[in-house]
Symmetry: C2
Subunit: 238 residues, 2 copies
């Protein structure tokens, strides 16, 4: 029996659109009217101050009908987490986010609450930290967390902002090259390359891909392959 | 007094050219005829096997007039390092490279030899590990090294393959965004964004930029600015 509830978004915003534009209907559907207030984690913000990040998030979640308490301004963050209706982890720098979750004793506390059934919404870095490790992040390691181990809420790794497009004229590795390296070194772990505009939605043992693009699956010993929204994804949970 | 000798290349190869094409004259100039054989570090290779990587490197360095012993095939790597005329660290995955340098006890051994005057040639990941840490790598953390601390042969961080070009249609961070985050979190550390086709050449206290493009300097509290080959760079060493 599992009452895990995860909404893991590749990204917050499509180029040129409103912040949290495309995810809004998914978030409202997921949190529904049962949730009145969310616990927001702004720690992936580096140049965006946590005050500004929380203000932005409070405004948008307010428009969706939810109150918001930010972890950085709560006098007792663990109590705020305990009484929240959902946890929302924003994107930014994954290393910075994970480092703060460790430093503040929030990693295990969030994990415990989500395993008890607290709904979890994350985007980008906030989706990465739901995975066993942050080893499929695209970010620069601007700070060194105590470990790459993350929340481990699902058994696969997400690569957010998945694309195989290269900046013109550059000879470096494609994203596919990087993820093929990951499964070479970590042959027991499957990766979901989640393009912008896509999300993974987990309800207990039911995992769904939603969005406008196929996602790409990387598994050691196989050629990477695409799955479409609606395709059966149980194999990712076993 | 310092007899440090470093040749730190952004990249091995320009798109469409021969492997180690553009760096060849720089390497031959740097190693000259005083060096007969180099100690090669293939550990950044992940999907490229170390045997294949060493074979490739042996062929190209042979064409330049140098013998090559690869660290992974030496029966006594530390003795091979001791007797080599230079150390050459190839590119690939920076985390994988650093992890192996730690695991094999080579990190401190290489540092000691290079501080004694052993010429050092690196490209991409091989230039990143010459820095204080690997925190300005572009790579994916496919393996977790014991620490981000690296060889610390120069006081600044290099960002290899520096570019501000974005894959079309993607809303994510530019390289500049990422490096601005780095100096935000590490305000005491300067970064050199080294575009492909460029290198840093250190002889004792003389640091030169060479190549066909300006490099971009990131320093906390200043707007990033460009330096040209030939510009004075002493400020990077103080």
């Amino acid at each position: 029996m599992s009452n895990l509830r995860l909404l893991l978004l590749s990204n917050s915003t499509m180029a040129g659109e409103q912040w949290l534009g495309w995810p809004e209907p998914h978030i409202v559907d997921f949190l529904d009217t049962a949730v009145t207030s969310v616990f927001f984690i702004p720690f992936a913000g580096v140049r965006l101050s946590w005050d500004d990040y929380a203000r932005q998030a409070r405004e948008r979640f307010g428009e969706m009908g939810y109150g918001l308490v930010s972890a950085h301004e709560a006098t007792d963050p663990l109590a705020a987490l305990e009484s929240a209706g959902a946890v929302v982890i924003g994107g930014g720098n994954t290393y910075h986010l994970l480092n703060e979750l460790y430093a503040r004793g929030l990693l295990l506390a969030i994990r415990k609450r989500v395993l008890e059934g607290l709904p979890y919404v994350g985007w980008s870095a906030g989706s990465n930290v739901a995975c066993p490790t942050i080893m499929t992040t695209n970010d620069m390691p601007v700070v060194e967390p105590p470990s790459f181990k993350a929340l481990g809420l699902l058994p696969v790794q997400i690569n957010p902002h998945f694309t195989d497009a290269q900046p013109p004229g550059l000879a470096g590795e494609t994203r596919t090259d990087r993820l093929m390296e990951f499964i070479e070194v970590n042959p027991q772990v499957t990766v979901v390359g989640l393009p912008e505009g896509d999300l993974l939605h987990l309800e207990g043992y039911d995992l769904q891909l939603a969005g406008s693009h196929p996602a790409r699956i990387f598994k050691k010993g196989k050629e990477p392959w695409d799955v479409q929204p609606g395709d059966p994804l149980e194999f990712l949970l076993s």
